[in-house]
């Protein structure tokens, strides 16, 4: 059974909540209109369609184009050998949706990462703590409005962060300036210099 057929089956099961399956380069995506039903849809996908492996949960920050958050679930069926992408949008005012860690235990850490990096909360999660940054860090660093170099922070008795020196940016190229060979004395000589 192909991923498209499975996606259509899931759509029939849930009526108007799921959008038309989109296919792009052999990958099938389904949009879920109501993020509150994500756990229900995932449970049906696992029990009835055989999506027994959760590959990843990730999130996209749309910043100033609401709804701000896009949650992306990558499901895989070992029985059918097919992948399905499930997407759902969450507005910034809510920033919360049900956990799927009851469906796949693997979701536990993925949801902690989304919470740590984006600040989206998962209702019913057994242990919603930060996973990459230290406990008590005040920001969610993968948001679009967070600077790459970081922001200074300090929790006395716990830890601190400082702004990393970016020296103008991570990858700076100035139009009209000398190229890397002339600008950088340690670079190897170019073909014109022999």
């Amino acid at each position: 059974m192909t991923a498209l057929e499975l996606a259509h089956q899931l759509r029939e099961r849930f009526g108007g909540v799921l959008g038309e399956p989109e296919q792009f380069r052999g990958e099938v995506s389904l949009d879920l209109a109501d993020p509150e039903r994500v756990a229900e849809v995932c449970r049906a996908a696992r029990d009835e369609l055989g999506f027994d492996l959760l590959l990843d949960i990730t999130s996209v920050d749309n910043h100033d184009r609401p709804p701000r958050w896009l949650l992306v679930y990558h499901l895989y069926s070992l029985r059918h050998g097919q992948m399905l992408r499930l997407r759902t949008r969450v507005p910034e005012e809510r920033s919360e949706l049900p956990t799927v860690s009851g469906v796949w235990p693997a979701a536990d850490w993925h949801e902690r990462e989304v919470y740590d990096m984006m600040g989206i909360r998962f209702r019913g999660h057994p242990d919603l703590r930060r996973i990459l940054m230290w406990e008590g860090y005040p920001y969610h660093p993968l948001r679009k409005d967070f600077p790459l170099g970081g922001l200074p922070s300090e929790v006395p008795g716990v830890a601190f962060t400082e702004v990393a020196p970016l020296e103008g940016g991570p990858f700076v190229t100035t139009p009209g300036a000398a190229d890397a060979i002339h600008r950088e004395p340690r670079a190897k000589p170019g073909p014109t210099e022999g």
């Binding site: 660093p141 967070f146 790459l148 170099g149 008795g157 716990v158 830890a159 990393a164 020296e167």
Partner: protein, 185 residues
């Protein structure tokens, strides 16, 4: 008639003796048995392992006894990227090491943050620890680490052991780090 009198020491009875200063002897003991604490945090730790293996053989310099307990180590080799989350642990392990203690910052990340100009990475372990030797490289070759170890041995050899031995507090003058980090008890 001239006679020779043996005073105090008879080499035929007591065997060979080397005479030296106490401080030189103590420093000599110390410098050839620096037990490292391998603080392996990233790919530099692979080169650290290579330095310990037979091809490069850190045992030639008396530093092959890698101790994973801070209580038994003399030199902490910080090899790898120190994230802010791990910085707490690094600092705590350093504080648990018994005096005298030294720190080698191995590689670009441990020395300066390296290529990780990022919100998550401590920009050099010298912001929380007093570093004795910095090793350049990304990652450094095992020879570079051995060179750092020899440089550290040179530093240990010149340390005024006796003058600082019985003083209360840290035995050796510790350069304060750029940033004091308070730890929760």
């Amino acid at each position: 008639m001239q006679t020779t009198t043996v005073i105090g020491y008879d080499s035929k009875v007591e065997g060979d003796v080397v005479i030296t200063r106490l401080e030189a002897a103590l420093n000599w003991f110390r410098q050839y048995s620096l037990w490292p604490m391998p603080m392996g945090l990233a790919c530099c730790a692979i080169e650290l392992m290579a330095a310990g293996a037979s091809r490069f053989d850190i045992a030639r310099f008396g530093a092959e006894v890698m101790r994973f307990s801070p209580r038994q180590s003399d030199v902490m080799i910080v090899s790898g990227t120190v994230t802010y989350k791990m910085a707490l642990v690094v600092r705590r392990l350093y504080e648990q090491m018994a005096e005298p203690k030294w720190v080698i910052a191995m590689g670009a990340c441990a020395s300066t943050g390296g290529m990780y100009r990022s919100y998550a990475v401590l920009q050099g372990v010298d912001r929380i620890l007093p570093v004795d030797v910095y090793v350049a490289g990304c990652p450094p070759r095992p020879e570079a680490l051995l060179d750092a170890l020899i440089k550290l041995q040179g530093k240990v050899r010149r340390e005024p052991v006796l003058r600082t031995l019985k003083r209360p507090g840290p035995a050796l003058p510790v350069r304060p780090p750029a940033r004091q980090m308070e730890l929760q008890p």
